[in-house]
């Protein structure tokens, strides 16, 4: 198992953001993570990549207990992530942003090698022509791609994608889906938080559903979308429920 989440709970003051979440993730899979807004999906990411420690429970990555470690520790062990709200290093160029990923990720490349990797990854992700621009000058869709490029430049074994498809137009979504599949084919294990069910149906091998911090369902995309508990969880959000019905 690449990643093992054991009985993780996280509370912020009185708010129970995660409640006894457990799952295992074998190598080479794409795991989808869905749930209504505020279900605790991003919190789960933050616990997995050690932005903050769980209140109780443990996380094991590549056989090592990483509970209580720091994000830079797990980054060096081969975990990379993107942020739902993009966090470009605005006053650095696009290339330099990606070089940070290559320099400080698992392989710890030197600057010269990192620049080469950055140019490769940027070409792959479709930002090659923007390499010399300041990251702050990109539009939102480009910044999302930059987030992904930075994560990829670290050559991770586990990639956490937090809503990389949100805010993209349909043709961009199609291209991004292809990109993600391509990344998986290179042997990278992926966990992705996504609201676009039809895209997730195409990609995910397995799906977990969170509601109010608890795992309420898990299974293949087909199983999950026909699960009454999942449909009920989404009913408060008619648009998403409709999306679920369409894709089911």
């Amino acid at each position: 198992m690449l990643l093992h989440v054991h009985n993780v709970s996280k509370s912020f003051g009185g708010l129970q953001a995660l409640n006894d979440v457990s799952f295992e993730l074998p190598e080479g899979q794409i795991l989808g993570l869905i749930g209504p807004n505020g279900a605790g999906k991003t919190t789960l990411f933050n616990v997995i990549n050690c932005v903050y420690p769980p209140t109780t429970g443990r996380v094991t990555f590549r056989g090592a207990d990483v509970t209580g470690k720091k994000p830079y520790d797990v980054s060096r062990m081969g975990m990379a992530r993107t942020h739902q709200i993009v966090r470009p290093l605005s006053e650095l160029t696009v290339r330099e942003n990606v070089m940070v990923g290559a320099c400080y990720g698992g392989n710890g490349h030197r600057l010269r090698e990192a620049a080469r990797i950055a140019d490769e990854v940027l070409a792959f992700i479709g930002l090659g022509e923007r390499a010399d621009q300041l990251a702050g000058s990109l539009n939102v869709a480009q910044k999302k791609r930059l987030e992904l490029a930075r994560a990829l430049a670290a050559r991770p074994q586990l990639l956490l994608l937090d809503e990389v498809l949100a805010g993209l137009n349909p043709s961009e979504v199609g291209a991004m889906v292809e990109t993600i599949r391509h990344i998986r084919d290179t042997g990278v294990t992926i966990i992705m938080i996504e609201h676009l069910m039809h895209a997730l149906m195409k990609l995910a091998d397995y799906v977990l559903v969170l509601e109010f911090g608890q795992l309420i369902a898990s299974g293949t995309p087909e199983e999950v979308t026909s699960n009454p508990a999942v449909i009920e969880a989404y009913l408060g959000d008619p648009k998403l429920a409709e999306g679920l019905m369409d894709s089911a």
Partner: protein, 342 residues
């Protein structure tokens, strides 16, 4: 698996674009600034004019200190209001050693080391603080250090340390010692500029700039932020510590109020901001420009009492209207200049 990944991502790429990281020594901007500072520094030596030497000495000192402060302020994004504490502490240790018969080079090195050590110890503690809290802590440290030294017997307490005239003898007398200090400071200043340039264009510097832009994102990307910040602090402290020894050796005496002048720290901030934080040229230009202005104001009968008032107003105007400073403004206005203005 790694090999597989590499080949799969190796799509057609524009050849030779990686040149970015190369040619640190081939950057024309670096040679330009070294040449200008070197020539300005050589002018009083060639013409043998002590008066001009004094003016240039002040400018060189400011350049060395502002360039060092820029490592922390400009590259890492941490505002230190108390950077003069390293200048003062280095100066004090150096003067103590000089008065006990240690030679100048050893005293200068010791001054740099004690400043670096202080930064290392402080860094582990106060670099956990971010933004305004860190800035406040640095003021506190300067004030605490001044109070401590004022009461510290071996360093002469409130009266400080004065060098005996005999200390200058091995250097060919006081007049020659002044020249020696000047040469040393000129070299130290050039070293400070090269250091600043090397850090900016290194992997370590890339990590620092990532911290400046978004510390949390930098951590997620794998930058070991506590370590990087501490080393940035140490590197920004060493040269001020060494410069402190040279300055007070030339001065002949040191006392707490001279060594730990808070407003000197703030003037250094003005210099870095004026020229452009985060650029190599900025602190050089800012220091030279500010000292010119200061010299003009101090000798002008109307303004001589308002020099610090104007420095404060200048800082306000820069922060409000050109937060990137002169070089930063040029770089963003004319992106082509990025290659020549480091």
């Amino acid at each position: 698996m790694k090999d597989q990944q590499q080949s799969s991502v190796a799509l057609p790429l524009p050849a030779g674009r990686a040149a970015h990281a190369l040619g640190v020594w081939r950057n024309p901007g670096l040679w330009l600034v070294l040449a200008v500072v070197g020539l300005a520094g050589a002018y009083p030596i060639i013409t043998n004019q002590a008066a001009i030497r004094e003016a240039i000495f002040t400018i060189l000192l400011s350049i060395a200190l502002a360039s060092s402060l820029n490592i922390l302020l400009g590259y890492t994004g941490y505002v230190s209001f108390g950077h003069v504490v390293f200048f003062g502490l280095g100066g004090y240790l150096g003067m103590y050693l000089l008065s006990s018969g240690v030679s100048l080079p050893v005293a200068v090195l010791a001054g740099g080391m004690i400043a670096g050590l202080l930064a290392f110890l402080l860094g582990s503690a106060i670099l956990r603080l971010r933004g305004a809290y860190f800035a406040l802590a640095t003021i506190g440290i300067n004030e605490a250090m001044r109070t401590f030294i004022s009461n510290f017997g071996p360093f002469g307490g409130p009266t400080g340390i004065s060098l005996n005239f005999a200390v200058y003898k091995p250097y060919g007398g006081a007049a020659q010692a002044l020249w020696l200090t000047y040469y040393s400071l000129l070299i130290l200043t050039l070293v400070a500029i090269v250091l600043s340039f090397q850090i900016k264009h290194s992997k370590f510097g890339l990590g620092l700039r990532a911290i400046r832009e978004d510390e949390d994102a930098a951590e997620v990307m794998g930058v070991v932020t506590p370590r990087a910040k501490t080393w940035a602090y140490v590197l920004s402290a060493i040269i001020p510590g060494m410069a402190g020894v040279l300055f007070f050796f030339k001065n002949g005496n040191i006392e707490p109020l001279d060594a730990f002048r808070l407003h000197f720290s703030i003037e250094l901030l003005v210099m870095v901001m004026l020229g452009g934080q985060g650029t190599v040229l900025g602190p050089v230009l800012g220091a030279a420009g500010y000292q010119q202005l200061r010299g003009f104001l101090l000798t002008n009968p109307t303004f001589k009492d308002y020099q610090l008032v104007l420095a404060g107003a200048l800082l306000l105007l820069i922060v409000l209207f050109i937060p990137a400073g002169a070089i930063g403004w040029l770089r963003s206005r004319f992106p082509r200049l990025r290659r020549v203005l480091p």
